[in-house]
């Protein structure tokens, strides 16, 4: 500005205009990583599944972040969660010329390396709406993703086991997965079983279906086969079948634990049918990627630490605190 003030006369005015234009161009260049247009930022959230149950929280989080930040968020998802199907969805987001893409990563990075590279070549910011590898917190400078935002699933399984041990569980623990093939659920199950076994508690995996009736009957019969079962864990958020099996078997002493808090879990924790649930605050898994992408696109900001959204435990002591937010679909 001081330089501008010192320029006078006609030639000076011309010079002033040139300098203003140059300054404007310079400012535009300086904001190169930022949005170079007036169009709203377009972010695609490539989910793992339809926005139902657990994934409904992610979708809601991303939508609300979009509203708060004034960016357009589109939630898309594969009909069946397979690597090719999800990569196809990412390619669709690239083709739609998204400014940023958040992916509900469900498998190893190698599956995404190519498509992430293509997104970067197209100038698209791309991050992971899933936890970093277990035990890591500081962002790896060579990470293919700009950021990672999620709950440490291995830690979640371990936390469940540790809480059960703290509750004095003796006997067998059955860890069931209604969504075989879902890496998150499987990691939780494996980590829990490993931790329990490491502490001398017998633990077993049980594969179930999503149908609550079939879940109930399978678990009921498992309890008949193994009457020493002291606790059962649902590694997915669907808990109906577990509650029915507990009632059907008359095993009031059976400790039920689950993941995520939905209306059924809330009621069951309140009245004591379910001991606790692991909350990974998945609303943040939807919300934070949109914030991180937007700020990266607008300001060039980048994550230093991975953002862990969980795990945390919700039990009878804490359930009322989160109840209102649960009913509104935020937790």
């Amino acid at each position: 500005m001081a330089m501008l003030d010192s320029v006078t006369g006609a030639g000076g005015r011309r010079m002033k205009l040139l300098m203003l234009a140059g300054a404007a161009a310079g400012m535009m260049a300086a904001s190169a990583p930022a949005q170079a247009q007036d169009d709203p930022i377009s972010i695609y959230f490539v989910g793992c599944a339809a926005p139902t149950g657990f994934h409904g929280y992610l979708a809601r989080g991303s939508a609300e972040a979009g509203e708060n930040l004034g960016v357009n968020v589109t939630y898309i998802y594969p009909d069946q969660l397979t690597i090719p199907n999800q990569v196809q969805k990412i390619e669709e987001a690239i083709a739609a010329q998204a400014d940023g893409i958040a992916i509900c990563v469900f498998t190893e990075d190698a599956a995404y390396t190519d498509v992430v590279a293509r997104a970067k070549e197209a100038g698209i910011a791309i991050g992971s709406a899933a936890a970093p590898p277990p035990g890591t917190q500081v962002r790896d400078p060579n990470d293919i993703f700009l950021f990672r935002t999620g709950s440490d699933e291995g830690a979640a399984g371990k936390l469940t086991a540790q809480r059960l041990i703290a509750m004095g569980v003796k006997g067998r623990v059955v860890v069931a997965n209604q969504q075989p093939g879902d890496a998150s659920c499987q990691l939780r199950a494996t980590a829990q079983i490993d931790e329990l076994k490491a502490n001398g508690i017998e633990a077993e995996f049980l594969e179930l279906t999503m149908d609550p009736g079939q879940q109930a009957e399978s678990l009921f019969n498992y309890l008949r086969l193994h009457p020493d079962t002291a606790a059962a864990t649902s590694t997915c958020d669907v808990i109906d079948g577990f509650l029915a099996a507990k009632e059907q078997s008359g095993r009031d002493d059976l400790i039920l634990t689950g993941y995520d808090i939905v209306a059924q879990s809330l009621a069951a924790i309140r009245d004591g049918r379910q001991a606790f649930t692991i909350d990974q605050q998945q609303f943040w898994r939807g919300y934070m990627p949109v914030v991180l992408l937007t700020h990266n696109i607008k300001y060039g900001l980048q994550q230093g630490n991975y953002f862990l959204t969980g795990p945390t435990i919700v039990d009878k002591d804490s359930v009322e605190k989160v109840a209102a937010m649960v009913e509104k679909g935020y937790r």
């Binding site: 409904g56 594969e207 149908d211």
Partner: protein
């Protein structure tokens, strides 16, 4: 058999063994026979694997609970498949109509006595849409219902926002729909068997049943014979979706909830149950009783694998393998039997054989006795 043939050549009636053999052969030709065989085989296998727990009342209750909920929806699929069509949307219909029932009860305070039938009517309406799309645009039902499956599921996701919904269910309604009232067996079993009986009657004892089979075997020929194939098709889609809704209502009553994924995957389980039950994918041939047995087979697999202590990671694999085995048993045995010659020299579709079998099974009934000269005459006539 040789004896029977010799006797026949000698002019006397066939031997008792030949008649029983023919009776057995004829029974095995029925679509549901191999499903019954599958039930028996699995019963023996799981009893051997879990002798203490499997052959017990609690197990039967569990099997019937699984079979009932899946079986009711499968009966609709069976009728539709016999009529020559598929319905991939029944799982989504189940979820959407469950949602309707929950919302009517929870948000509008409507009695379940009204809400439940309303949900079934909504299911029938969704089936009507499927049927109309199929007959109006002549698009294969597989494609139409694949599309409507996605639509209904999408609508359900949008309406629920993706979140489970709970509802307080009056205990009486819960008991009537799914309560363990029949010596511990759930009421859903009663609905299942009742619907199975109605379905069997509809298929085998009514003109509509004939139309269904005719339409499934050769729709053009059926049309030429005056069968209202399009109307039959639409009605079948309505029945399939309405029965999916009945399953939905039962699950709402039992679990006091609905979630956006309710019913997902059930469409394929229903197809598996139907095929295990002896119904042909190509249409025109099948049995509701077979589907009832198929559903029991499926329930037996689900419960039996747990009680047998099968490795937890292989449930789906083992279930699939057993289903494939059951279908192979069904189709392969059926094919071989269809090629088999009637025993004791009877002709196919022989009235004399019917009389002989009936007389052997119930001697003295209707005065039919294969050893009398009369039946021997009939037998000889039959052979000519």
């Amino acid at each position: 058999m040789a004896q029977g043939l010799d006797d026949a050549s000698a002019g006397s009636g066939p031997s008792r063994g030949a008649i029983w053999g023919e009776a057995f052969r004829r029974f095995m030709l029925r679509p549901e026979s191999t499903a019954l065989a599958a039930v028996l085989i699995l019963f023996v296998v799981f009893t051997a694997l879990s002798p203490q727990l499997f052959p017990t009342k609690l197990t039967y209750i569990s099997i019937m609970a699984v079979a009932a909920e899946l079986g009711i929806a499968s009966i609709g699929v069976t009728l539709l498949m016999i009529g020559g069509h598929f319905d991939l949307s029944i799982g989504a219909v189940l979820g959407l109509t469950s949602y309707v029932a929950v919302v009517l009860m929870r948000d509008f305070g409507i009695s379940p006595i009204i809400a439940a039938p309303t949900a079934v009517v909504v299911g029938a309406a969704l089936g009507f849409i499927n049927g109309i799309l199929v007959v109006r645009f002549r698009i294969h039902s597989f494609v139409v219902t694949l599309g409507t499956m996605l639509i209904w599921r999408g609508v359900l996701i949008a309406l629920t926002g993706g979140f489970p919904m709970t509802v307080d269910i009056p205990p009486l309604f819960k008991d009537v729909m799914a309560g363990p009232l029949i010596f511990g067996f759930r009421m859903s079993m009663v609905w299942f068997l009742g619907i199975g009986l109605v379905g069997t009657f509809l298929l085998t004892r009514t003109r509509f049943g004939n139309w269904v089979q005719a339409a499934g075997q050769n729709p053009q020929a059926a049309r030429n014979l005056g069968v209202p194939v399009d109307r039959v098709t639409v009605i079948l889609f309505m029945i399939a979706s309405a029965l999916a809704a009945v399953t939905g209502v039962i699950q709402v009553a039992r679990f006091s909830s609905v979630d956006a994924l309710r019913g997902e995957g059930m469409e394929l389980q229903a197809v598996a149950v139907t095929v295990i039950g002896g119904t042909l994918l190509s249409g025109g041939y099948g049995s509701v009783i077979g589907t009832v047995l198929g559903a029991i087979t499926f329930g037996m697999i689900q419960v039996g694998l747990v009680l047998a202590g099968a490795p937890g990671h292989f449930f789906k694999t083992l279930t699939g393998a057993i289903v494939v085995g059951a279908v192979i048993l069904n189709t392969d045995v059926a094919r071989r039997l269809a090629r088999s010659r009637p025993l004791a020299g009877f002709r196919r579709n022989s009235a004399a054989a019917d009389a002989a079998i009936l007389g052997e099974a119930m001697p003295g009934r209707d005065g039919v006795d294969p050893t009398t000269a009369e039946s021997g005459e009939a037998y000889r006539e039959d052979k000519q």
